[in-house]
């Protein structure tokens, strides 16, 4: 018998954990999405049916949820790009010795999980919260603006939660652009906006796409933030899936909803890959 390669031995537990515990269930999901569970029963009928998908496609409620989810995710992505780009560039160009500290601080909400920062946000955005209280004290408003229970609060929450996912990959990409590229462009007559358009933007585009994909997927599948900040009044695709899986306990239907989400993410990924190819092609063009 051949002696086993030590590298293989070292990798086996990790590959098993990721391959079997993490990846295999995705396959199962596709299968159970085609099973069904009669209304009011908890017994799953293991025979092929398209009922779940027909039910999703036929009900306007899910379409509305889908539309709202896509809208919120797109808005979150765009806001994160607009806010994240200058911050990422600041980290690379101006942060100097504070860079490690600022990066760590940006990471803090990420390791605090989905729930605790949301709990704080409730106290910021509530009718008696910090934001309304401050605006009132400044005399800018005299009646509270409702942020909770509607899209605005959810959008604020999503941007706040996922901004780090945009800033960090962007900073990595921008780090690889030597300042001398910008300086060369300026010495050749490019004003600041031109430098940005012609040099920084094309070179940072892969990082922007990567960050955008991360944020978009995170926003699309997030259910804690929309649930808490929407106060149960706003149905997104992920909160519906959560309800079906954890409360209604209709697992085949929940699986079908999950498969739809997966397909949406796949489509987003494809779009980004196409965008990337288009960029490369545009650069190659004379």
């Amino acid at each position: 018998m051949k002696r086993p390669d030590p590298a293989v031995l070292l990798l086996t537990p990790a590959l098993l954990l990721t391959g079997v515990v993490f990846l295999a269930p995705f396959g199962l999901l596709v299968a159970t999405g085609f099973w069904s569970q009669p209304k009011g029963s908890l017994i799953v009928e293991r025979s092929f049916t398209l009922d779940n998908y027909v039910r999703i496609a036929a009900d306007l409620y899910y379409w509305r949820g889908l539309g709202r989810t896509l809208g919120l995710s797109a808005a979150t992505t765009i806001l994160c790009l607009l806010i994240g780009f200058p911050v990422a560039q600041w980290l690379v160009r101006r942060a100097r010795r504070t860079r490690a500290l600022v990066t760590a601080l940006i990471l803090v909400p990420l390791v605090c999980g989905a729930l605790l920062p949301t709990l704080g946000l409730v106290n910021i955005l509530g009718t008696l919260g910090v934001l309304n209280g401050t605006l009132k004290a400044l005399g800018l408003i005299d009646r509270s603006i409702p942020f909770l229970g509607n899209d605005s609060g959810i959008l604020i929450g999503l941007v706040q939660s996922f901004l780090p996912l945009m800033i960090l990959p962007l900073a990595t990409v921008l780090d690889r652009l030597p300042v001398s590229l910008e300086e060369a462009a300026m010495s050749l007559g490019a004003t600041r906006p031109k430098v940005w358009r012609r040099v920084i933007l094309p070179l940072a585009a892969p990082g922007m796409l990567a960050g955008a994909l991360l944020v978009f997927c995170a926003a699309l599948t997030s259910f804690v933030t929309p649930q808490i900040l929407g106060q149960g009044k706003v149905a997104t695709f992920a909160t519906i899936a959560y309800q079906q899986a954890a409360l209604v306990l209709d697992w085949p239907f929940a699986s079908a909803l999950a498969v739809v989400m997966l397909a949406l993410i796949g489509a987003a990924g494809l779009l980004v890959a196409l965008g990337r190819r288009a960029l490369l092609a545009a650069e190659r063009a004379p």
């Binding site: 590229l181 300086e183 010495s187 050749l188 007559g189 490019a190 004003t191 650069e283 004379p286």
Partner: protein, 362 residues
């Protein structure tokens, strides 16, 4: 017209968060001149170049180009071509795209721009590579693209920051010649930063030697070599550079080498006359020294410590009165024994105040 300098730098100073990087720089450069900024690493050469390009704002002083004050002019309006040490080619553009960039910024129409690109590429002999990407070029080719990009905009001034330092030794010598030819062909006023004294002496019409944020001497290569303004210039220029021999001038005007009284050649005592009770440094160029018998008349007795064989020459390290000196001798000369006499050159000695480094009048 010919009296007013093309570029004038007056009293320029720069500090990086309190630490001075440049102090009171004053230089005047004539139209069409090739100036080398020469100095050791960290002396502020790049800082000065960046101030000229407008990439860095000077804290004090004025920069005048063609008689107009450009101190506060942003880089994109200066029309100054700049070649970076790492070339800074745009990786997402072809060679043509890189060279055309500056022309596009000037809104030159496509056909004219393409013609100018070809012209610039021909000037640096890169005609066939226009459609390549920077990543598909060798270091030497990348550097030529960087030069083509800078000259394509027909700049008023061409600045080069250590243009040869990323090239291997063989390429460096050939590019050196090409740079000189390029300068003659284009007639562009050129400033090149380097820490290689051979590069500065061979390429430039004039050399400005810098140290610790100051210009110590500004003159022709010959001036800088023959009549260094300070001890530092003497020990920085030349290959190998001059050695310094520390001499103590006693109260009565007598000279000492270490503890021993020294009967120096005739001109020395007079030259040191103004420096009583002080120490002076005598700069000795290795190629002006000769070795003889230890007891030869007027020779400095010395011991040979090491010999470097360079083919045509040898560099002999000798120790005289406890101090090291370098002597260049013919490679074929056979060196006997350990004891030799160092024969000093004729003519006025190069003497410097040991404390300030300033040249003593001969």
């Amino acid at each position: 017209m010919s009296d007013t300098p093309h570029l004038a730098i007056e009293g320029v100073a720069k500090r990086y968060r309190g630490t001075p990087a440049l102090a009171d720089i004053a230089l005047a450069i004539r139209r069409g001149e090739f100036l080398a900024l020469l100095g050791p690493s960290g002396c502020g050469k790049s800082t000065l170049l960046r101030i000229l390009a407008g990439l860095l704002a000077a804290d004090e002083g004025r920069v005048t180009l063609d008689g107009a004050d450009v101190t506060a002019m942003p880089p994109w309006r200066r029309d100054i071509g700049l070649v970076f040490q790492n070339y800074a080619l745009f990786p997402h553009m072809t060679v043509r795209g890189n060279v055309r960039f500056g022309l596009e910024m000037r809104k030159i129409d496509r056909a004219t721009a393409d013609r100018m690109v070809d012209e610039a590429l021909d000037t640096v002999r890169l005609g066939g590579l226009a459609e390549r990407r920077p990543a598909e070029l060798s270091g030497g080719q990348q550097q030529r693209v960087a030069i083509a990009r800078a000259i394509a905009i027909k700049p008023r001034l061409l600045l080069l920051d250590e243009p040869l330092s990323n090239l291997d030794a063989v390429l460096r010598t050939s590019v050196r010649v090409e740079l000189r030819e390029l300068h003659e062909r284009t007639g562009l006023t050129t400033i090149m930063v380097t820490h290689d004294q051979a590069e500065a002496l061979t390429l430039a019409d004039r050399v400005a030697v810098m140290s610790a944020g100051r210009v110590l001497q500004h003159g022709t290569p010959r001036d800088v070599y023959e009549t260094p303004a300070t001890a530092f210039v003497a020990t920085f220029v030349g290959s190998p550079p001059a050695s310094l021999l520390r001499i103590t001038v006693a109260a009565d005007g007598g000279l000492r080498l270490g503890e021993q009284p020294w009967t120096a050649p005739a001109g020395f005592v007079a030259a040191c006359g103004g420096a009583k009770r002080r120490q002076v440094d005598l700069a000795l160029r290795p190629e002006r020294l000769r070795l003889g018998a230890p007891d030869a008349p007027g020779a400095l007795p010395a011991e040979i410590r090491a010999v470097e064989y360079l083919g045509s020459d040898r560099i002999v390290h000798v120790e005289a009165a406890g101090q090291r000196l370098l002597v260049r001798v013919d490679g074929a000369v056979d060196l006997g024994g350990g004891s030799v006499g160092v024969l000093l050159p004729e003519g006025p000695p190069l003497l410097f105040d040991a404390e300030t480094g300033a040249r003593l009048p001969a």
